[in-house]
Symmetry: C2
Subunit: 154 residues, 2 copies
DNA sequence: AGAAATTTGTCCGTATGTATC
DNA sequence: AGATACATACGGACAAATTTC
């Protein structure tokens, strides 16, 4: 097999498969995913392809990776339907901190924040977007060496 | 030469170097960067490494890539010093729209927005971050095929 | 405490497919 | 159509962080 990528590229197919396993609970939140080598064996692709799929999931905040340790599924991302509030659409969701927010809040990359997004329209046209972030205070934390990530409950 | 990467990985060193060239004006805003092959030759690294450096710059919105065309430096990111306003630090800057904001505003990826960020502290600890975005109304646009990107002024 | 094994991170070289000019 | 450039994929190698013994 040279390198045919008709339709969807392989790394995307794999990413979608893993995403479904996480969302369906086949891979519980907070637990480690199979290792890269295991996925290489399962999907019969090269390690680079697996890593590309992982990067895609990481970008979406669905998983987080720690060097020498593994990649685990992050906490549930709760996304609510937008509600109307004074002419603006307001929507709230839990998100993992990106690099910038992690630095500002001085928290770990991937730690949970609550994002409130408000979208303002004028004549149907979006003219302003406001996003506020606050710490998500719960026992839901990114697993660390101090606790057992396997048994951590979201 | 096996694969020594003391300290910083090479792709990051290259990304920093390119970033400096852009910020110092060696690579003017709006102009195309050297091609991948040129950078491969200059830095004596593989294409994948160059592409990784490019991806890093792209993620930061410093450059934008068009398929079959090349990679060019995006508009100036004006970043002002934070000012204090009622117990919060407020800072404004121009940023290129990421995928989400581009979708919400219905504008092109990389088009300019004005971001106002407000950071609130309690006892020195950051407790909330608010970001508002509005359209940046000016002639500064991301270059398109219709105009000549080379001569585009920010 | 320390060595070995495991796992992810980075890098290389190469090849081929696909889109644009 | 031809040239150029980006996207995907492979296999191998060594580095670095973590866990296990």
């Amino acid at each position: 097999m040279p390198t045919p990528h008709y339709g969807q590229p392989r790394y995307r197919v794999i990413a979608d498969e893993l995403r479904q396993r996480i969302e369906s609970g086949t891979i519980p939140r907070g637990t480690l995913l199979p290792t890269e080598s295991a996925l290489v064996a399962e999907f019969r692709v090269s390690r680079g392809t697996i890593r590309q799929a992982m990067a895609a999931l990481r970008k979406d905040g669905l998983v987080a990776t720690e060097h020498g340790r593994g990649t685990y599924a992050t906490a549930t991302l709760c996304e609510c339907n937008p509600i109307r509030h004074g002419g603006a659409e307001v929507r709230q969701r839990k998100i993992p901190a990106d690099a910038h927010l992690a630095a500002v809040f001085d928290i770990k990359l991937g730690a949970l924040l609550v994002e409130t997004e408000s979208v303002t329209r004028e004549n149907g046209r979006v003219v302003a977007v406001a996003q506020t972030y606050r710490l998500y205070l719960d026992r839901a934390q990114v697993p660390s060496r101090a606790t057992e990530p396997q048994n951590w409950i979201e």
